[in-house]
Assembly symmetry: C2
Homo-oligomer: 413 residues x 2
């Protein structure tokens, strides 16, 4: 049954792959229009999810993530407008040239085909992913959380209706409507039809995908993020950046988790930093040496430097020098976002060269690692692996290329 | 034990990732020099492989693949010279700009880290892969076939000696010296240390890697390749291209496997083609309709259109129109190399747009799909999947990028 669904998505992807930019934008506009027209039905479907969620005792925070409101729907519609306005990455030709053997060779950007996305909670992701896929000529198979099943069914029905209304294959966006987790395992084996899997969720989901998928998986979205305060750092600026990285939105993957401090400034810098962060409600867990400098820091446990806090907690470690910071990051970072705070050009360059994370910062907050902050427009996910795409994945990450070779009866010698 | 080996490779990769182009080229030059100096020892080690291979009854063709000769060694040394002369893709910065939020953001090309390559037979691959990895600042873990174990041990010892002689970490190139296949399965789980797996071998090896690896795998090197003869094709040129694609080197992945012919020209084109190909020793297996036109064509069996022949056999199928050819290719091609022979611009464009293979040809032989033919210099593998790299993989395919963001105490609003 799931194979059949995937086959239909694959078939739809063939039509999509040759759709013009105007046709794809038409489809997006039609989705936006129907979202506005059918707002009452969408909110009613969402209300069923909310009611069932409350019955099942979901936390208020989670209920809030599930919730669609007229304002949030308007935001989704604005995102679609922005996406329509973005340039279409498909069909770009580059590196064209005639080779010594006579062949005219070029590369052309093409869609991947079918993208499988497994995600949780927020129903806006359903529209986001579907629209990003359509804009890049890809079909999509969506597997949302069971908490938003009513919302997702309604939203995908709207997408199908919109596609149909503009003469496109309504099967281009498929929803796995059965919340049974067994279907995730089945999906991961459908390499004949699905070209890429993006798990947007916690460590367990990522691990399930990596271990079971025969389809290439883009892992990401888990950030154990570091800032290293070099001995030459400007204290005021450093405190501002650290506070922003930790406090502005602690529940997300690009928030700061561990602060590394050069030993030569620890005694002067730490007290100032601690008093600022404590005021902002941050709990501090540090190495032995740091607790001896600032009594408000409690001693960190064995796993604390391997924890993505997602809350107002910060790990603190005093390091002997830059290379010590680099080595800590290599061991404990998820290679999402790590940065240095320094006034020294050489230290900045050493750090940037040696820390091989998706995003490396100099005197800037880790909170910038984000598709819209990076100017990519929308974001499919934040990759923390090295193949295909790193960091925030925009439209380009949903494309691949083909080589096109032309001759006039050309043979190889 | 294997984990320890991988850990050493990872450690070496850190040094390599910050090595200058001159340092990396020095290392390559040192390898070349030692290959020349130690030629007698290399040939002696290779002779042990040959002797054992004969004792185990390996075919002459396979023995020839294992064999190193002074000429072949000289060829390997020439390849290293060419690689030294190529530009280093690492450290390139691009898309640099200041964003609206104030962040200076750019991308920089960086090494992947550690590359695991599993391959068979030919010992020149050992040097090829190691040198490509070193040129791009990557460490490598090599698992060659047991038939070349003595040659590979000697070659990797030379690489270590060369690295040491120029002050680089000799552990950057690791050989899994135990032929036990269990180590392949172990390697595939070392995602903590290895960033990419390239299986260079048959369907079974590829499948083992895709099913068992928790590391991203680049599959490829298996080509069920098609040419479609459109009704407007120039017969003479078409026959020349088909003959080249099938006959020039039938044992490789980019050789032609199936020919599709537009029904309107089958009766005139097929007899001329068949007489030419029969003369060249090709065995023809075709659809019912084709056998009725040319009696030298025997009826194809059920699996014949899903077979990579790797020999002088060709499948032939008459199709009703271009879209019929496209659909046959979608079903049966491995997305390696497929082409159209036509004089019609519109047919060429339709075919190129609809066939989403790694390499798509117009009036040219499928035999061009090759790193050196494509002007990439060397080739690590030919990818037939869509993520990261497609088709012939040159130096660029061994790189990734990091985002570098710079501010002056910049925070996110």
């Amino acid at each position: 049954m799931l194979e059949d669904l995937a086959k239909r998505a694959k078939n739809a992807s063939y039509q999509l792959s040759v759709a013009t930019t105007a046709e794809k934008n038409n489809a997006l506009e039609a989705i936006r229009r129907l979202l506005i027209e059918q707002e009452p039905d969408i909110l009613a479907a969402n209300q069923r999810d909310i009611t069932e969620g409350r019955q099942q005792g979901l936390s208020d925070a989670l209920i809030d993530r599930l919730l669609l409101t007229p304002d949030r729907l308007a935001g989704i519609c604005q995102d679609i407008e922005r996406l329509v306005a973005m340039s279409d990455p498909i069909g770009e030709e580059y590196q064209g040239r005639q080779l010594e053997n006579g062949l005219f060779l070029k590369k052309r950007t093409v869609p991947l085909g079918v993208i499988g996305v497994i995600y949780e909670a927020r129903p806006n992701v359903t529209i986001d992913i579907a629209c990003l896929a359509l804009k890049t000529g890809n079909a999509a198979i969506l597997r949302g959380g069971k908490e938003t099943i009513h919302s997702n069914k309604k939203l995908v029905a709207i997408i199908a209706e919109a596609l149909q209304s503009v003469g496109m294959n309504p099967e281009a966006v498929q929803l796995i409507g059965d919340p049974d987790r067994a279907y995730i395992y089945q999906l991961l084996k459908l390499d004949k039809y699905v070209d890429m899997i993006i798990p947007r969720g916690g460590q367990t989901l990522q691990q399930v995908c990596v271990e079971n998928s025969t389809i290439p998986v883009i892992t990401g979205g888990i950030g154990i993020c570091h800032l290293y305060v070099d001995e030459s750092a400007d204290f005021d600026k450093a405190i501002a950046v650290i506070s922003n990285a930790k406090v502005q939105r602690p529940s997300v993957c690009n928030a700061l988790d561990t602060l590394l401090i050069h030993q030569s400034i620890a005694a002067t810098f730490l007290p100032r930093l601690v008093s600022e962060l404590i005021q902002q409600g941050v709990t501090l867990k540090g190495c032995m040496q740091s607790t001896e400098i600032a009594s408000k820091i409690s001693l960190a446990g064995a796993d604390d430097f391997d924890t993505e806090w997602l809350s107002l907690t910060l790990g603190i470690k005093i390091v002997s020098e830059l290379q010590d910071a680099v080595e800590h990051i290599r061991l404990h970072s998820t290679a999402h976002s790590d940065g240095i705070l320094t006034q020294c050009l050489n230290a900045a360059e050493q750090f940037v060269a040696r820390v091989n994370s998706a995003a490396v910062y100099v005197n800037a907050s880790t909170r910038f690692t984000d598709g819209s902050q990076f100017g990519l427009g929308a974001e499919v996910a934040v990759s923390t692996q090295k193949l295909h795409a790193r960091g925030p994945m925009g439209l380009e990450a949903l494309t691949t290329y083909k080589w096109i070779g032309q001759g006039d009866g050309l043979i190889r010698n």
